[in-house]
Amino acid sequence: MMDNEIDRELLEKIADMLGKPVGAFNIRKDCGCDGRQSTEHIQILDRDDGKAGINIRIADGTVNETCHIPVIITKSGVEETVYNDFFIGENCDVEIVAGCGIHNCGEQTSRHDGVHVFHVGKHSRVHYSEKHYGEGDGKGGRIMNPQTIVYLDEGASIQMDTTQIRGVDSTKRYTKIVCGKDAEAVITERLLTHGDQVAESDMEIDLDGEGARGRVISRSVAQDSSNQVFYPRMVGNAACFGHVQCDSIIMGDAKIKSIPAITANCTEAQLIHEAAIGKIAGDQLLKLETLGLTEEEAEDCILKGFLA
């Protein structure tokens, strides 16, 4: 496990791992298992339906525990679809750290399609973070197509932080969250594309239960000739509150399309959407230059803050 520099760097980038993590973990490397640990309350098991992936079962009342399930691909030409199902009991408070890193120095495409399905029990809180990162000087593509589907039972909540850092040539992301009574979903999405990369994020939040709340905060930067499409949708089917906010910085010859949609199927649903696309404002650069930063440093500082 983590037996070379590439592994260690990828795992640090995508899951902030500086060694064997505390708590439950499963490290997937090049289509195989590179390390696994279950705990008393968090069981990680192979699937029994023949599909690649794992089942994670978290016992009722599990609090302040973490589960790391990073995926790394270090070979060129590895293509996989992996299914991970999470069964989280009632009254839990857990942190799940996922993420995928691809190091591709070859000519062939490497692709990871991760399909995650969460069943979150009553009054449980989940903090889920997922970072995607690609590197390597080969001509082979680095592709990631994550699907995340979440079912929140009464009073349950998920805070989902997704970040695509750099180096992912193509991504098609699909996220669906179904909120029951008094459930809450907060999604923060951070995305940076450069070169000729393409990224598409399709998101649907269904606020089905009375008192359900949903919030999407999406911030992206498109550099060079990259292309981004966002399609966040919030559907209010009960007395609920939903807010979608998409902000993008566009640079170079990039293209961004942002299409937030809100649908109310109940008179008590309160839904708001905001979307903005623009370049870095000249007065922001000037202000930071008056603090002694060069134009390049100022631009970098603005982008880092925006995507933080």
Partner: protein
């Protein structure tokens, strides 16, 4: 010491040129508090921006501590000890007040206590603001006070403030004038403040009235304030008529 020599600035208008500043020469000694005042559109902000490098003069020379900085960029001037508080500061999504103050100070290890001191001087409580983003969630007055705090954190040799009082409530304004007075008394920095406020003008070692792109008057606050009041009244035919009628 700051020296402006024969500074002119003009912009293209149709086939001709429109003069914004015309042959301004000015010397400001170290540790002085100088107020630029005068009518709107008279050229005060342009003159201040020329000192910071935000606007390039069409003619003239700028010397800072004897060094010709006329052709230096904003960053280089900032690094030589010149700072500028904007009249309408920009907002930044994602940049926190703490990060802005840290960048301004140039000290990546800037402590919370130091941040607190800068914010207190502009009437803000650090606990309420340090982790907030300098974005549209802040009011105009709050952003303005954070802007001034960033100049205090910069702690440069020459501090330029463009209408620092604009958008600030009366209580915070009183705290702000105290801060300017403290900096002046400490004798650690030269200050140029663009202002129309009598309380700020009365703090000045020298008041420079800029109008129609030129220096109209120069003198102490005691000399200049009565002239400003007279000009204000004299400049308005309605007010003059009413005054005479009384």
């Amino acid at each position: 010491m700051l020296e402006l020599k024969h500074i002119s600035y003009a912009v293209r208008e149709g086939d001709g040129e429109l003069g914004i500043l015309n042959d301004i020469s000015l010397t400001i000694e170290d540790h002085r508090l100088v107020v630029f005042t005068g009518p709107n559109g008279g050229g005060k902000t342009t003159l201040a921006k020329i000192i910071m490098g935000l606007v390039t003069p069409t003619e003239g020379q700028i010397l800072w501590n004897g060094q010709d900085i006329t052709h230096l960029g904003i960053t280089e001037r900032a690094r030589l000890g010149i700072s500028y508080g904007f009249q309408q500061p920009p907002r930044f999504k994602g940049l926190t007040v703490r990060r802005l103050l840290t960048l301004a100070s140039g000290d990546e290890t800037l402590s919370k206590d130091r941040c607190c001191q800068y914010l207190t001087k502009v009437g803000l409580c650090a606990n309420d603001y340090l982790d907030r983003e300098v974005d549209v969630s802040l009011s105009g007055g709050e952003v303005k006070r954070i802007e001034i705090a960033s100049i205090l954190a910069r702690n440069s040799q020459l501090m330029i403030f463009d209408e620092p009082e604009a958008g600030i409530d009366l209580w915070s304004f009183a705290r702000l004038t105290e801060t300017f007075q403290q900096i002046h008394t400490a004798g650690t920095a030269t200050m140029i403040i663009i202002s129309h406020q009598e309380r700020i003008i009365s703090l000045a070692d020298e008041v420079i009235v800029v109008g129609d792109g030129a220096i109209r008057h120069r003198g102490s606050a005691q000399e200049i304030l009565p002239q400003i009041l007279a000009d204000t009244l004299g400049g308005c035919p309605v007010l003059t008529k009413e005054a005479k009628a009384q």
